[in-house]
């Protein structure tokens, strides 16, 4: 079934990401195969699928880390922006176009304090250059003050105000996840890409996370693109779901539709979505199985390390 059929209302809404038939290959292996999808303003769109389905590859393509061989991606980062091409742009440019992201394997700056981590994000928009910094000119100081206060706001938002001066490396896992989100928000994006934000967090943290995501979406009017294995979380927060399997898009629609979708169920180890959810939740080793069966995981992992990209 197609997006138009399921989402007659959304067709009028402003498109943030417009992905058309992108294909991404590593050598012989096809990581993303002819995928098209639209993401609309102010929605929470979740991308699900077994490990190695190409979710993270999709993220990396959207943020310019990978360059798909075929297809086009256009982006209207903040509301009112005119759509621009994404493919071929540098990562930081895309970020400036209003796209922020977090990483599957947390990638903070461990040796900076939580506050500094967020400030790095906030300050990428700022002007003051090295000279004014060396001389401590007034406008540079003003910017410093602004970025600090902004950073504190965001830390408060994600509930890390008290840990502001801890080193990011010394924070607890869940806190690091939230700090990463705060850093992303710091770049004042129009859309934020969350890559498995709930991975390795406990149920309580998961609930808080769900609230946080809704908050970001509703209060800050930021569109959210979400990769997540935790079905409970996905079902609870996502407006719309997109299902990838072996690099191609197998389903798209509202949560309840997706849960009934046979293709999806098939994709999930041939069992029903709920069971799949249950299993994946209760027995993490299923991840491992999936990993071993999928030859693309290694690629994605490799793709996620800085070593591999040639900027």
């Amino acid at each position: 079934m197609s997006a138009e059929a399921t989402q007659p209302t959304t067709s009028t809404r402003e498109v943030v990401f417009d992905v058309r038939n992108i294909t991404l290959r590593f050598g012989g292996v096809t990581s993303i195969n002819d995928v098209s999808l639209q993401m609309y303003r102010d929605e929470i769109l979740a991308v699900i699928g077994p490990n190695g389905a190409g979710k993270t590859s999709l993220f990396n393509s959207l943020t310019g880390v990978y360059t798909p061989q075929e297809g086009t991606i256009t982006l209207a980062g903040r509301s009112g922006d005119t759509p621009q091409r994404v493919i071929g742009q540098k990562t930081h440019v895309i970020n400036h176009m209003g796209v922020a992201r977090t990483f599957q394997n947390i990638r903070l700056f461990p040796a900076l304090t939580a506050l500094e981590n967020v400030k790095v994000g906030v300050e990428t928009r700022m002007k003051a250059g090295p000279v004014s910094a060396m001389l401590g000119l007034p406008h540079q100081r003003r910017e410093e003050r602004e970025s600090t206060s902004r950073a504190y706001e965001l830390l408060t938002l994600v509930g890390l105000r008290s840990r502001a001066n801890e080193l990011a490396g010394s924070l607890a896992y869940g806190e690091q996840r939230r700090l990463e989100i705060a850093r992303a928000l710091g770049t004042s994006p129009g859309v934020i890409l969350l890559d498995e934000p709930a991975a390795g967090t406990n149920p309580v943290e998961k609930r808080d996370l769900a609230d946080l995501i809704r908050l970001i979406n509703r209060e800050l009017d930021i569109s959210v693109l979400l990769i997540e294995h935790d079905m409970k979380l996905v079902m609870s927060v996502a407006d719309r779901l997109v299902v990838l399997n072996f690099g191609s898009l197998i389903a798209e629609g509202l949560p309840e539709e997706i849960q009934k979708n046979p293709a999806v169920i098939a994709a999930y180890l041939g069992t029903s979505a709920e069971e799949a959810v249950a299993e994946v939740e209760n027995q993490p080793e299923l991840h491992v199985i999936a990993d071993d069966t999928s030859n693309m995981t290694s690629l994605e992992d490799a793709g996620a390390t800085p070593g591999e990209e040639t900027p």
């Binding site: 930081h92 922020a100 990483f103 990638r107 903070l108 900076l112 300050e123 001389l135």
Partner: protein
């Protein structure tokens, strides 16, 4: 070496850690025997030295050393709990220092005493009739060692038994012995009457003071701070500024009681003598007053005021102390100037005019006054809150800054040293300070931006230094190709030009190459450095004058209306010029590190992809790092050229680039004080070793020192807060297995 032993249960004998360690220690002693052996063999008998080093009885001694080390390593842990006791470390250090002073260092430069070592001196002194009995007794051979052993034993006992009374005895004893040594030595010096630059007595005094401090530590340390650091912290937390006052007290006493103030040929006049020397001359009344009574009064007053203010934690009083200290400092300098100036006029033999022939006294006093003023300032700014004592790891990471005024105090001490040590130093050390230490510190600061902050490994850094130097040489007209008349500049005016040129050079090297990852960048920069040097050698278009180099680069000079300053051959003037520039650079870079750029650098160093995803324009940020580093090194180049007056391509060999990197890492990558300390220590060391080991062996010893440093303290002398964190994080992360891959330094490298 014990670090290299892993305890793995249930393995063959060969892998038994103890056996491994024993073998390691023996190997160590073997190498030591080679290192301390005689100089090299000959063309006829290649490897003669090798045989002589390891054959013959001497090897036995070295093997014994090895066994000793082995025992130490094996049974060292048993005494671990004691090592945590407050004062153990200062005690060990103090003991070591005294032994060094008594056995290694020179106690006099006079040619009368053959090698000037302590033993020979004491031999001679104990026999000399005209020496004051007090000194003579001190020098009677076994006595000094006995005194030392006793003091040491008392201190040790006090610490182990934790007896307050005993420790106070220890304090008194060691302070007395120390001062006695110093005093006797000064008597000997004045007897010999020759200029004396020996260090023994001073170092010995330091050692004894360290021992005293150890005792004091035990006496004062309560249970909740059961280690030296805790003790130090408590002292600072107790009354900010008080430690400074204490130091000032010691310096002041030395200055006003013992040290020489005025010393033309054949006399070393203490303050009293100086006063009498000049009593009859037409010395300015103020200076006269200062010599006779004002000086003492001012010292006592400002000392008392500062101490009281510190005790009461009273800002108003503290400001008063600060002002008083500064005023006295000025008066002191005035007095110094007038006596030295007048000394030259009224024919004292060998008195050469203003600021010359001044002994240590005046400068020690200046330092004391500066510290008192500083103490006042610290107290005034520290506020009333009690400092917190570093307990948790993150406290330590956050550093001693948590203790109010401690960092300020340290900075003040360094400043006082930088200002008032050089005039006390011998011409040799003054020259070393200027032409080696000062310049390389500047270079290290520059490279620290590239390597330490941005995490880019640059092995061709000296190239920019060369560019700076040759730019200067060109604009002062020391090269075959002359600039047009109107462009001829004084070296100082070359600084901005050199900065610009190096900026351009840095960017044009960086632009194409900065996309390369760590080690590729390293080799490319290395190549760039070599290319610059070879171009200078091959002299295309006769621009660089090839291997002959550029001669006759003038010394800088300022002529602004009434002001005429000419930095001739005087090292001191250069030192202060260098000090000003370096100070400015430090301030600027310190701000830079705290600015968004500094954070961006840390970000790309830590995780380039994440940084990009966070919107950091990595290429520009890297380019900035490169350019800023390059221009700093350009400034250093200007100084070098104008100070030496002659440059040739040999000054810019690859080895120097490597050395600068070594300085930065040795000192502590990414920390400004670290980089400076590293450069200072490693440029000071070879000059120091000149008197200790054969000249040919110095590089060998330096290599060994660098190696040991990296083995035992990989983070460097003064680890950077951010780096320490990294390192710490990795220690947690890396188990024995995974540690096969080194902790990614984030030089664009992998984690």
């Amino acid at each position: 070496m014990s670090a290299s032993i892993q305890r793995r249960p249930g393995e063959r004998l060969r892998d038994n850690p103890l056996v491994g360690r024993a073998l390691g220690c023996l190997a160590l002693s073997f190498v030591l025997a080679l290192m301390i052996g005689k100089q090299e063999g000959t063309q006829q008998d290649f490897g003669l030295a090798f045989r002589e080093a390891i054959l013959g009885p001497r090897i036995v001694w070295f093997l014994l050393i090895g066994v000793l080390v082995f025992l130490l390593l094996t049974f060292g842990p048993r005494v671990q709990p004691y090592v945590h006791r407050p004062g153990i470390r200062p005690l060990a250090i103090g003991g070591l220092t005294v032994v060094v002073a008594f056995s290694l260092l020179k106690w006099t430069d006079s040619t009368v005493v053959s090698d000037g070592k302590f033993s020979t001196l004491s031999e001679a002194a104990s026999k000399t009739g005209q020496l004051a009995p007090l000194a003579r007794t001190f020098f009677t051979p076994p006595l000094p060692w006995v005194l030392f052993v006793v003091a040491f034993a008392v201190a040790a006992a006090a610490i182990v038994l934790r007896k307050a009374a005993l420790s106070w005895v220890g304090v008194a004893l060691s302070v007395l012995v120390g001062l006695w040594a110093w005093y006797s030595h000064s008597l000997v010096v004045s007897l010999l009457g020759t200029p004396d630059h020996s260090t023994g007595a001073l170092v010995a005094l330091l050692g004894f003071l360290a021992i005293a401090a150890a005792c004091a530590a035990t006496a004062l340390s309560a249970e909740e701070s059961a280690n030296t650091r805790g003790f130090v912290n408590r002292i600072f937390a107790w009354r900010p500024g008080m430690p400074l006052v204490a130091v000032a007290l010691v310096l002041g006493v030395m200055a006003f009681a013992i040290a020489t103030w005025f010393s033309p040929s054949n006399q070393n006049a203490t303050l009293v003598d100086t006063a009498s020397l000049f009593s009859s001359t037409g010395l300015a009344p103020l200076a006269k007053a200062y010599l006779s009574w004002l000086g003492y009064l001012l010292f006592v007053l400002s000392l008392a005021l500062a101490a009281f203010a510190a005790y009461r934690r009273d800002p108003r009083l503290a400001w008063g102390a600060a002002v008083l200290g500064l005023v006295s400092l000025v008066l002191n300098l005035v007095a110094l100037y007038s006596i030295s100036a007048l000394g030259a006029k009224s024919a004292f033999d060998g008195a050469n005019g203003p600021w010359d022939n001044l002994g240590t006294g005046g400068w020690l006093a200046s330092a004391a006054f500066l510290l008192l003023a500083g103490a006042g300032y610290v107290v005034a700014t520290a506020g009333r809150e009690r400092g917190t004592i570093a307990r948790t790891q993150s406290d330590v990471l956050a550093g001693i800054g948590k203790i109010p005024g401690m960092s300020k105090a340290l900075i003040l001490l360094v400043v006082a040293g930088a200002l008032f040590y050089p005039p006390m130093a011998t011409p040799f050390w003054q020259k070393v300070l200027v032409s080696e230490i000062g310049i390389y510190v500047l270079l290290a600061i520059g490279l620290n931006v590239v390597v330490g902050w941005a995490g880019l490994l640059d092995l061709g850094f000296i190239a920019f230094y060369a560019i700076g130097s040759y730019t200067t040489a060109y604009f002062v007209g020391a090269l075959p190709i002359q600039p047009p008349e109107w462009m001829r500049l004084s070296p100082l005016l070359c600084i901005p030009i050199a900065i610009v040129v190096c900026l351009i050079a840095g960017v044009s090297l960086g632009y194409p190459t900065l996309r390369l990852r760590g080690d590729y960048l390293a080799i490319v920069t290395l190549g760039f450095g070599e290319i610059i040097r070879i171009v200078a050698v091959n002299n295309p278009g006769n621009f660089t004058n090839g291997p002959k180099g550029a001669f006759g680069i003038p010394t800088p000079a300022i002529h602004l209306g009434p002001i005429h300053i000419d930095w001739g051959q005087s090292s001191l003037q250069y030192w202060y010029l260098l000090l000003v520039i370096t100070g400015l650079v430090i301030l600027a870079f310190n701000r830079l590190e705290q600015s968004r750029l500094g954070r961006a650098w840390a970000a790309i160093r830590e995780d380039e992809i994440a940084a990009q995803a966070t919107g950091v324009n990595t290429r520009n940020v890297k380019l900035l790092a490169f350019a800023i580093g390059a221009s700093t090194s350009g400034v250093a180049g200007v100084f070098f050229a104008s100070q030496i007056g002659y440059i040739n391509p040999d000054n810019f060999v690859l080895n120097n680039s490597i050395l600068v990197v070594a300085y930065v890492v040795f000192g502590g990558m990414g920390s400004l004080p670290g980089a400076m300390a590293g450069a200072a220590v490693l440029t000071w060391l070879p000059e120091f070793l000149k008197d200790q080991v054969p000249a040919e062996d110095r590089q060998m010893w330096i290599g060994a020192v660098i190696l040991l440093m990296m083995i035992f303290r990989p983070a460097g002398l003064v680890p950077a807060r951010r780096r320490t964190a990294e390192l710490h994080g990795f220690d947690d992360a890396s188990s024995a297995e995974t540690s096969a891959v080194p902790a990614g330094e984030g030089m664009g490298g992998t984690k």
